[in-house]
């Protein structure tokens, strides 16, 4: 081969070349009648892949996520042409790239008519209002599939629209809580665990920092919509209807905990930063901060580093390197190491060894000794990492509305038809004229009239 494999990969996955390649979902139109993250992100992944996604929000203030931002501080202006002194919060940021923004009031009959006109020309609808609301308004799957039998309609929500809990409202962390995610994340506790006093920090069930059941649920939804398009275009010619429950998604994630409960009555518990299946394969505390002079709390604290040496050979190497041959001899097989009663001794030894080191020093030492290790990186370290910048996993978007914005890159890489980010998002109703004239044939006067009646 003329070039090395790594050079080949750099070439075919080069994020600078994505705009010279075709888009895989070009020509497909998706209506995103969504708010918060679960529904919006599912449509967003399709927009990354070239679908024309029209996000429909309520006029003026837009959807609630626009008003969600850390400590209510960072905002991107303007919120809309009607509210130039208000901004959109960063909560909206990761779930609305590349979309067209239309504002429509579904509560008004003229608004419902607009949705029907758009649905007649759409391939898919993503919707996450309360189950049955769109049906009541005459724009649910039962009605839209009459207008357009090819339509793929996905409702997404917390608990689903049928069954005893059908009226329960949900948010991401409720999905995490009720799906069992909290119960297995974090250190055991509170209170003493018999036989383990002092062996690990005491903790509580912990949330995942991401709104994960929303963002990941959106991925599941996007996969399902593309699969349905594949089936429609190659097999059946007709659309489909899906109901995605984020609590069910969480439970699907943790199927092994369900299997252990079903067969043996075991209830999975927390094991902190170690791993119930592998040892040594855990995150250890390194005694020193990497930024001793910093004023940032996130930088002042000590570092952490994953150390992974679960095979017999790697483990022996690790213990020799840190001067604990005695532990290598004491736990020679993985069966010895992975036992719950034995795991703390190894991590304790590693943390004692790492007491006077930063996470970088620990990582470098491990790599030098042929041991897998990964320091725990913060947002700044990831944002400035050569690795992730070269790969386009984080990048600047030259956004037409907001200027340079730093953003996550698309969801995967592809050699022929890569996903891409064109703009971060736009103000509420920014594309009203474009969409309504292109797809509904509305004149300038008509659009003005609808605006004055608060329909758009």
């Amino acid at each position: 081969m003329a070039i090395s494999f790594e050079e080949y990969c750099r070439d075919v996955f080069d994020p600078k070349k994505v705009f010279s390649k075709p888009e895989p979902l070009k020509g497909l139109r998706v209506l995103s009648c969504t708010q918060y993250i679960l529904g919006p992100s599912s449509a967003n992944y399709l927009a990354e892949l070239g679908a024309e996604v029209i996000k429909i929000e309520l006029p003026r203030r837009g959807e609630p996520m626009r008003h969600t931002t850390p400590f209510n501080e960072p905002l991107l202006y303007p919120l809309s042409k009607w509210m130039p002194d208000k901004g959109t919060g960063l909560g909206f940021f990761g779930a609305n790239h590349n979309e067209y923004f239309l504002s429509v009031d579904f509560h008004k009959p003229e608004g419902v008519e607009i949705v029907k006109m758009l649905a007649a020309k759409a391939d898919a609808v993503c919707e996450n209002y309360r189950a049955g609301t769109f049906d009541r308004w005459g724009i649910g799957f039962r009605q839209l599939s009459q207008i357009n039998p090819r339509i793929i309609y996905q409702w997404m929500g917390g608990f689903g629209g049928w069954g005893p809990g059908r009226k329960r409202a949900s948010y991401d962390i409720l999905g995490q809580a009720q799906g069992g995610c909290f119960s297995v994340t974090g250190w055991p506790g509170p209170g003493k665990i018999q036989g383990y006093e002092g062996k690990f920090p005491i903790g509580l069930p912990s949330k995942h920092t991401i709104w994960i059941m929303d963002y990941w649920g959106g991925m599941m939804g996007a996969f399902q919509v593309i699969a349905a398009m594949y089936w429609r275009d190659n097999v059946s010619g007709v659309g489909d209807f899906f109901e995605y429950s984020q609590v069910q998604g969480a439970q699907r994630h943790l199927s092994d905990a369900i299997a252990l409960y079903g067969r043996y009555g075991l209830v999975a518990q927390r094991w902190g930063n170690w791993d119930p299946l592998l040892c040594v394969h855990g995150i250890i505390r390194c005694g020193k901060s990497s930024y001793p002079g910093s004023q940032f709390p996130a930088e002042m604290e000590e570092g952490f580093c994953l150390v992974s040496a679960y095979t017999d050979a790697d483990y022996a190497k690790l213990m020799k390197a840190v001067g604990r041959d005695d532990l290598a001899k004491k736990f020679p097989t993985h069966d010895d190491r992975v036992k719950a009663e034995n795991q703390p001794a190894m991590y304790e030894a590693l943390e004692v060894w790492a007491k006077d080191k930063t996470k970088e020093q620990v990582e470098e030492f491990m790599h030098k000794n042929g041991i897998n290790a990964q320091r725990v990186m913060n947002a700044k370290e990831v944002s400035t990492s050569e690795h992730f910048l070269q790969r386009g996993n984080v990048h600047f978007i030259d956004d037409p509305t907001f200027g340079d914005v730093f953003s996550q890159g698309p969801v995967f890489m592809a050699s022929e038809t890569p996903p891409r980010h064109k703009w971060a998002f736009k103000p509420v109703g920014a594309d009203n004229e474009y969409i309504l004239s292109k797809l509904c044939g509305f004149s300038k006067a008509k659009i003005k009239e609808l605006e004055s009646q608060d329909v758009i």
Partner: protein, 468 residues
């Protein structure tokens, strides 16, 4: 400690699942009409009367020792694709992993083998063959399989398959329609590219997730990993989107496959909401904020009498309902919050000291309420809330049982196994699970005969040489 405790295990469900009559009792016909339509359209009991979206697709899942590829191929299997797991001779090392090495909690098959729960749950509806890619004969067999496959997923160390002559560059020559996907932790190229043996939580640690999860140091917390190999499952889902898109584009436009790369780190970075946007604006490093939310007050898990409970309601409509609920028991707490001028305006509330005040006051009420009591009172005001559930509770919640979020697969090889069922509820092409998994190499005979025309003598020969 190592003694196996004697836990009496009631068959699931320990408490009977409610009947439709019980569920919809007292609801007017008009009100329950939509729910009943949904139920008729989506009930899993009808799944096998319906077609499968992807039953023309053949996937070779050649990944091992990681869940990312198996998770990805599970999504294809649930949607109807023929998925063949190509495992090293002796089986995927994941098969042997069981919590804390407790072999008594593995799942025995009827052929004398056993497998851990983690692997078994992602072997759903897949076949298993063994193939030794370290041998030239093994690689030749893989090439023959690749010619007949639509998708290959692999997770060998970067460049390993290319060096062996079975990478994308070579396989796309013999099958231009092939969608070839590499999955891993950090990538097959770039300064931090994967090393052999890199596993989740490597990506969790490298992408800012671990740093941001857990309580702040001042609250006694540390960076915290997800309790399961979450990054792999996110990365595997993004791989599935990539492969599905490539298949769609192949059929509708190009006729050709392509090379996909999906990593656990890429998947998590994509969904780490505003970490990057915030850093880009003013250099902020997103801090850990425990079970609270930086952007919404109230949106948190709070300690209560018998555990923890989630309550969400940042905007005014829910905010006042939450305090009304609290006020029914403790009017002085409601008064304290409602009369505080600093908490009047929704946009003022997310500030840290306001969150401290909110949750301190809220906890005063929670300490006298169990999860169930608090949930019942809050839901009476239609506030989104729910207890932090452990897996016995998850599996026995009437709503989830009724909707089939978990189901028993009575498997030929493993007997009855309770699993998290497919999350793809659908009207025309729902996802489904057909069998729970296969012992190592169970399908060698079928696959090698059906796809490659090997005879029994051929296979015996290959077995003797350690090729299959």
């Amino acid at each position: 400690m190592a003694e196996k405790p004697n836990i009496p295990v009631l068959p699931w469900p320990a408490v009977a699942t409610p009947t439709p009559d019980e569920v919809y009792q007292g609801e007017s016909d008009q009100k329950k009409e939509y729910a009943l339509w949904l139920e008729s359209a989506l009930r899993q009991s009808e799944n096998f009367k319906k077609p499968e979206a992807l039953d023309r697709i053949r996937v070779l899942d050649c990944t091992s020792n990681m869940i990312i590829g198996h998770w990805c191929s599970s999504l294809f299997a649930e949607k109807g694709a023929e998925v063949i797991m190509v495992e090293p001779v002796g089986g995927d090392p994941l098969r042997k992993l069981t919590p804390f090495g407790r072999k008594e909690y593995m799942f025995k098959d009827t052929h004398g083998g056993a497998v851990g729960a983690r692997f078994l749950c992602e072997a759903r509806s897949k076949q298993s063959v063994t193939l030794n890619l370290e041998t030239a004969e093994g690689r030749e067999l893989l090439k023959k399989l690749a010619v007949q496959a639509d998708v290959i997923i692999e997770n060998a160390p970067p460049g390993d398959w290319d060096a062996k002559g079975i990478g994308y560059r070579q396989l796309s020559q013999i099958n231009p329609r092939l969608v070839y996907c590499w999955v891993g932790q950090l990538g097959q190229w770039g300064p931090m590219k994967d090393k052999p043996g890199n596993l989740d939580p490597t990506a969790q640690a490298a992408c800012g997730f671990v740093h941001g999860t857990g309580a702040p140091k001042s609250f006694g917390g540390t960076p915290t990993r997800s309790g399961w190999w979450m990054a792999d499952q996110v990365g595997g889902t993004s791989a599935a989107i990539g492969i599905m898109t490539a298949l769609y584009y192949r059929e509708s436009v190009s006729g050709r496959g392509q090379f996909i790369e999906a990593t656990a780190a890429n998947g998590i970075i994509r969904i780490l909401d505003y970490n990057w946007g915030w850093y880009g604006m003013d250099g902020s490093i997103r801090p850990r904020y425990g079970n609270w939310d930086l952007a919404i007050n109230i949106y948190a898990v709070n300690p209560c009498k018998d555990g923890q409970i989630m309550v969400g309601g940042g905007h005014d409509r829910l905010w006042f309902r939450i305090w009304k609920t609290v006020g029914k028991d403790r009017p002085e707490l409601e008064q304290h919050i409602i009369e505080d001028p600093k908490l009047k305006n929704v946009t003022d509330r997310p500030a840290h000291y306001m969150q401290v005040e909110t949750y301190t006051t809220f906890s005063e009420w929670f300490k006298d309420n169990t999860r169930y009591e608090a949930e019942t009172k809050l839901q009476a005001e239609e506030v989104a809330s729910g207890g932090v559930s452990f897996f016995d509770e998850v599996c026995e919640t009437p709503h989830y049982k009724y909707r089939g979020h978990m189901e028993i697969i009575d498997d030929q090889n493993y007997g009855p196994v309770l699993i998290g069922s497919s999350a793809f509820l659908g009207y025309r092409t729902p996802g489904r699970v057909k069998w729970i998994g296969r012992p190592t190499g169970f399908d060698n005979d079928d696959v090698y005969r059906r796809l490659l025309g090997l005879t029994k003598a051929d296979m015996d020969g290959l077995k003797g040489k350690g090729v299959i």
